[in-house]
Symmetry: D2
Amino acid sequence: MNKLSFKGAIPPMITPFQADGRLDLDAHIYNLKKWNEVELGGYLVLGSNSEAAYLSEQEKLSLIEATVLHTKEGRPVIAGTGMESTLETIRLTNKAAALGAQAALLLTPFYYKGKMNESAIIRHFMTIADDSDIPIMLYNVTKFTGINVSSRVVTEISAHPNIIGMKDSSGNIGQLIHFQEAALDNFQVLTGTASIWYPALSLGVTAAVMALANCAPKECVQIQKYYESGKLEEAKALYRRMVPLNTAVTATFGIAGLKYVCERAGFRGGYVRNPLSELTIEEKTRLDAIIEKAELLK
Amino acid sequence: MNKLSFKGAIPPMITPFQADGRLDLDAHIYNLKKWNEVELGGYLVLGSNSEAAYLSEQEKLSLIEATVLHTKEGRPVIAGTGMESTLETIRLTNKAAALGAQAALLLTPFYYKGKMNESAIIRHFMTIADDSDIPIMLYNVTKFTGINVSSRVVTEISAHPNIIGMKDSSGNIGQLIHFQEAALDNFQVLTGTASIWYPALSLGVTAAVMALANCAPKECVQIQKYYESGKLEEAKALYRRMVPLNTAVTATFGIAGLKYVCERAGFRGGYVRNPLSELTIEEKTRLDAIIEKAELLK
Amino acid sequence: MNKLSFKGAIPPMITPFQADGRLDLDAHIYNLKKWNEVELGGYLVLGSNSEAAYLSEQEKLSLIEATVLHTKEGRPVIAGTGMESTLETIRLTNKAAALGAQAALLLTPFYYKGKMNESAIIRHFMTIADDSDIPIMLYNVTKFTGINVSSRVVTEISAHPNIIGMKDSSGNIGQLIHFQEAALDNFQVLTGTASIWYPALSLGVTAAVMALANCAPKECVQIQKYYESGKLEEAKALYRRMVPLNTAVTATFGIAGLKYVCERAGFRGGYVRNPLSELTIEEKTRLDAIIEKAELLK
Amino acid sequence: MNKLSFKGAIPPMITPFQADGRLDLDAHIYNLKKWNEVELGGYLVLGSNSEAAYLSEQEKLSLIEATVLHTKEGRPVIAGTGMESTLETIRLTNKAAALGAQAALLLTPFYYKGKMNESAIIRHFMTIADDSDIPIMLYNVTKFTGINVSSRVVTEISAHPNIIGMKDSSGNIGQLIHFQEAALDNFQVLTGTASIWYPALSLGVTAAVMALANCAPKECVQIQKYYESGKLEEAKALYRRMVPLNTAVTATFGIAGLKYVCERAGFRGGYVRNPLSELTIEEKTRLDAIIEKAELLK
């Protein structure tokens, strides 16, 4: 079989909004063109950092369409089309496919978390895979969902020819190895956080979907280049420099923080949507110091 | 001021689906007519037990419309129109209002839980209240959202004339009293679980939105009648008899269990939607024993 | 069988320390004499509020001895002699028995929480019950232990003639009813928190071990008296008045707060032991306002 | 300054018990002599895997004494002398020092977890460091304590000349880097789990206290040797082979599992103490398969 696979740093793209909350597609396209200039491994549209939870279906489709249209030739576009309902996920995934997305990254359903046991999750992904027009991947992100999939789930779903991988955002290297061991052939485990980008590379991971790749795409790419050319010390040093910035734009300051750093790095971050809050001046000052220490703008 | 207030047992109505997953509006109307025969205090359409997470917007609107149309004269219809986005919540709430819903019960947003601090939640509800055509209530349900609102949030939002109350599903009596104390005048605290129906009544709560009112509406109503007529021992005895059944149709067996007991009690439960799973035969047997012990069908 | 049973409000007694951290037995005896003047239902020595985690075995034995010696005739003394190890618990419990304690309240072991499944907990309690010279009770306190026992555990252990009851500190009325239903005859479920004292009374609970009984013993006793003499409105009003004070001396300000309120109410609270911290002046001011609102000193 | 520092794999030694629960010091000495034959970096006596929660003080002192006496010349002995009380911790630590332990690894206190904020934890460690006769280290192990220390705590305590490091058992590489960055000079961050042994080495960690070093000491040592001699592929391959075995002897089967694998590897594991349970035959069979796959006995 000749499955789609991924290589490189992939930004889970932010979605710029205007001050009144409207989607700013122009800013999105502007960002995309800037990202196209870096050797990124593809794009994730509608991931957690896109504020997908706040987007209408029409906005989601517009974003997919614009992304496919403006993506540099040869770069895969992954769409985050997971919904709580199995059938709705199939429906939205196939709309994304029709617009040109090459793969879908699907959240584990989680609202009724007490009932989302192994068999419910396996059935959800197997059913979608059967009916999806593009290959799918599982997105394991416990901090948002409260769900952490087991190795058994990985073994089962990796047997399906249309399920080509997973993104694990746990930051837990031991778990990542368990997932790698549990997966059957031709199933790719991507890391979902820059906090383990270097160690993950050293353990055979070849692609990462990580928030940091929005605002520090060159650095994310460079860590992998260093690693692959055997410059391990340089890779490690750059990775270590990026870890505090990554923590800042994820756990500490969230999407508003990520957008602020994007702005400072020349992208168009725009506003966050309510109920998310913009950064305070004091938070921006703290973040400025972290940007400086990470030498991001040098 | 003459705010809307609630009295009595209110079922967060299940949504019957057909075997292929399609919405079964006829079954919903059938159930509604049966519930109309009992002295319930109103209806919640699109609550957690409705599998709202699995419904499309069109299905939501159909359910609101059918509910308003078939509800017994004088009974308020509350719509669960909470979305993650502040603006989307306003939009959907006003559609519900246009269809005749009298109030909206709105989940605290929770996907980006690390950022849903007091001020974000307060701003979310105040903004919606400003623009909503019907009064709104806050829905605090930690087991699904991971968010538990503070007394300060209750004090702040209760000052808004268009925020008329909240539903607390914690089952924690001490917390319920704190919410009652924290609220300004004309703000109603409803309990969201039958597990404290009798104690809540004895502490001044007058209305409850509770899963059990789907399958045991008469019993839920009777507990309150006994209480209000001073028959405390009868009220307590019936309440105690219902607690294990309530646990079964919520924590233990979830919505599939609730629908099964509804079927056994003469309602049309129908199927659950994927990724939820139907009960196994073994689970049904366990549930039959609990129904028997609760003397539900006598 | 003629098992020991409890009735009334029971303080899990604080342990006064001097400024240098030394045990202040005189202050303890002073407090005991004051509590003796109120119609309390007995005493718990070495509960969580005693800072038992910070006491040496010799200090524990001194406290049991002094308590037994100075307790008003006829009031049972319960000792908190639970340890992580089954054998150590038996050893300490029998020392307490030799000093005159009438019963032991034993924490579920919890350090290796991943392995403290139902069968491990049942075996722990059954083994201790076999070898204990006094009757024992299970102490279920999830906020400290991370363990919440199941109804099955209650059913199993309640069959042992030397296991006479349990204290549940969850504040969850639904769970308390499940425990009552699960227990075989002659097994008493005590509540472990004043946050549900009135509702628990109304559901057949006759005794409570609650932090609040340290600093507000008369009020805790009076709630029950009102309840038992049919003055339900008075019982409820007093209970409601006490709930915020109870929250303050438990969840909000912890043992340092409890000791401060004890001091203000005429008891000798003394210092807390390190690593616990004394209240700041700002915290004392906040607590003064809560005391005032509860009308504790009137 | 010339602080003590650690290098290599350090077993948090199991404590063998006899069938009746008595401490089996001979078996402990037997194990120690076998571990002495491998190039381990020292020993931790009284860590979590020693069932320290079940040991009396006299047993603890016997174990320290025996360990110091039988340890190979030049290998540091670390004692786990953390207690909940600050003063008790000082007392026990100095007894350990008098018996020849070179350093102490101290659990964060956790029973009153709601009050164990940054300042309480910092004061606890600073006070102990002032009065301890040997250097101390902080032991951060959230799965047992529910406490996860912040970078600020690390910065503060690392300024104390008698606090020489910490063990972080989180398995979270991003957090480990934050701790490394937060620490002032001459403060060593050890990893507390074999699940990140190779990545931790690649990021400058030079010592690990890990359960797996009990039953697979040669393999744990060999991973580091390979790494340091530049044989990265061999290091990674061996590490990957060990990860599933490590999960088995920690999260999955706990101390009973670890002791079973120790027995199979020629050590004297002995029995666990109650309330821990021995493995069932079925569990042993599952563990045998994991041992086989890890090629431990080849």
